[in-house]
Amino acid sequence: MTLTETNPEAEAVASGDDLRPETEAVAAGDESRPATQSSAPQWTPPTGLAGILSTGDHQVIGRLYIVFSLLLSGLALALGMLIGIEQADIDGGFGVFGQANELFQVFGLYRTTLILCGLVPLFLGLATAIAPRQLSASSVAFPRAAAAAFWTWLVGAIAHIAATFSFGGLGSLEAGAARGQSVELTVLSLGMIGVGLLVGAGVIFTTLVTQRPAGMDLLQMPSFSWSMLVATGVWLFSLPVLLANLVVSWVDMRGADSLRFGGGDAPFEMVAWAFDAPQVYAWTIPLLGITAEVFTAAHRSSPKLFEPMAFIVGAFGLLSFGAWAQSFFDSADPLAQDAHVVTNEVVFTAFALAIALVVLAYGGWLAFNAYSAGERPQITPQFALVTLSGALLTAAAVAGVLRVAEPALGVLREADGDIWRGFFDAMDDLEGSSLVTGMMNFAVLGALLAAVAGLFHWAPALLGRPLNAPLGFLAVLPLAGGAILVGATDALGGFFDQPARPYAAGNPPYGPGHFDEIDALGFVEALNVIGLIGYIAVLGGLALVALNVARSLGGAPMDEAEQGEGA
């Protein structure tokens, strides 16, 4: 605001007049105001449950996001475990689920819960609590909108899970296999989740753009804040597309007969792009910022060559926008299908290769910082977690490259197929295989590890207390080991033609007939058992983190100055 000669505020300041409203002055403890004002009834903020429900405090909202998103991540992992049990005996019919449609419902719910109810809100929670402190701002830009976003997301998440378990889900494999109203509620509640996350992203984006102190430009923000700016920017362009898909689906299923978007498994197919490359990388962008902060802190240095790192994170964000890669943009014309399947397009292949290069460049930046720090890193649980989360992201990028290898290497195959026949055969049909699931699990669980690392790193600012390091190391092993097992077994199963979608319509829907194509069925089932152990391990690791937080809250809080250092 520019102060001019006619500015009443400037004149008031110069003349010593106080233009503040009375309530503001009283709240500020200004005793120079007339004594009669102090006799006015003062508003006291509610406490307890009412306080939590009506809070606009960014720290409280951030903590609420973190608590509930961790709980829902645990639920997602439990769902993954159920799918793992089912896949441990592929040719033996159903073990856990009664029919293919139930497996299909849980398959969809695993993805929506893990990513949209677990990972993304966890990052939003960290940002809501930490970003204002990193900018020396008193709060987020729109505190009430932040609270509204949180409650919208939470109610949506609960409704989504409840609707799916009430014979709902994102569509159904066979007519009559799901309850129509529950399917509608599943779709609507997913839309509610999307709206909540979009508003939350808007709050963080606006905070990062407008709440910086004078003199701090965007490239002077801490790495995590920068990564959240890029992430919320990409989510801004992705989540509305998801909402548009859901609205079309919902309107179609409201008609007498679903025409194309609301019938069968179409609602899931409409949103499946959000859980596949390249969009799946978009949900993991803050991983890069957290890794940069924890990594340089462990080396007791500040980030060197920040601008290149900021560019790398920006490029990663740009390449991870994946709303264009949805199967509903494939041509419905059978004659044109080969030419117009999005995942066969050159641009899809180019994006997968480019993302791998960006991840490689980011690894180079980390290595440069480690080298230039000149001393060995301080090994902390968060350092171990970000190192392993970086390895998981790299594994996801490699899986992404292998996935597109078939079309990319088509030219070489035609040139001389005999020499590399075995290699080319292994590359065949990876697009529809469980390698795709492995890639998603590598990326998402890697990002989950990074978020937990952030929790350890910023615990003094978030909880007012540090987390216990030995207990933290104890959690690292199952978290990282389990994530590697889950991703690697899915990825490896893909080379033996295990399908990405472990369900099919028909009778029998899940058993002999649909899995004839799998090579070495016994080996694939053994892989799935190992993957199941991985899910159990990650779940156990999360439980240890929760135990660590509970134990920490029982201890004495740190003083304000130490808490500030945490951010």
């Binding site: 605001m1 520019t2 102060l3 001019t4 500015n7 400037a10 300041v13 110069a14 003349s15 010593g16 106080d18 120079s32 830009a141 729109f142 909108a145 979009l198 808007g202 709050v203 984006f205 606006t206 753009v209 407008t210 709440q211 004078a214 801004l236 362009f237 989540l239 509305p240 597309v241 909402l243 548009a244 898909n245 609205v247 079309v248 309107v251 179609d252 409201r254 008609g255 007498a256 007969d257 025409l259 194309r260 978007f261 709303a323 509903f328 943009f329 041509s331 419905a332 014309d333 044109a336």
Partner: protein
């Protein structure tokens, strides 16, 4: 505060935090992406239907170009009145700013009325064809977008009536105008992609 002597240089003013503007730009961009996605699905489906040699919009429907064209011109006129409001508030002319906002609101409402008339006139059954479903989704979403824009405009007008905005603080009106221009832009795209191309 009372002990500041007259003539003491004031501290350097803090840069303005254009919070409302940035938040509105974020919301507007999200709205544009939403419609971009809907129109992408619409055009993809239309292309497939026509390449198969079939019809896109059912022949039983009677989609006239006149009502949406009238609505498009109305929307374009509202751009002028919206900019008039921003121009006026930037010059402390609150009366004209409120009058121009009221006119913009009126134009917006008339588009709602025109669209309602078109719905009853065109005889398109929502669940009869993919085209009908998508047309209702897209135009219905745009009606919702107009509704949000009208609430935004009225809010700014009432705030101006209460003396909130002036030449020193125009953010509310500028933010409302950015959103409103997006509303108009989306309608022009809908007019072209749906009603002109059919």
């Amino acid at each position: 505060m009372a002990d500041i002597a007259v003539g003491t240089p004031l501290a350097a003013p803090l840069p303005r935090q254009r919070t409302l503007l940035v938040g509105t730009v974020f919301g507007t961009a999200a709205s544009l992406m939403y419609f971009a996605a809907l129109l992408a699905v619409y055009l993809r489906e239309r292309s497939d239907a026509l390449s198969d040699g079939g019809e896109w919009i059912p022949s039983s429907a009677n989609i006239q170009l006149a009502p949406p064209t009238v609505a498009a011109w109305t929307m374009l006129m509202s751009v002028v009145t919206m900019q008039w409001a921003v121009y006026s508030i930037a010059r402390d002319d609150r009366t004209h700013a409120i009058m121009a906002t009221a006119l913009t609101t009126l134009f917006g409402m008339s588009v709602v009325v025109t669209t309602s008339f078109q719905y009853t006139d065109m005889g398109l059954v929502a669940d009869e064809s993919i085209a009908a479903t998508l047309i209702y989704v897209i135009s219905g979403s745009h009606l919702a977008m107009i509704g949000i824009g009208l609430v935004f405009l009225l809010l700014m007008a009432f705030r101006a009536l209460a003396g909130q905005y002036s030449s020193r603080q125009t953010d509310g009106f500028v933010a409302a105008s950015i959103y409103w221009y997006a509303v108009v832009f989306v309608y022009v795209v809908i007019w072209t992609a749906i009603f002109v191309l059919k």
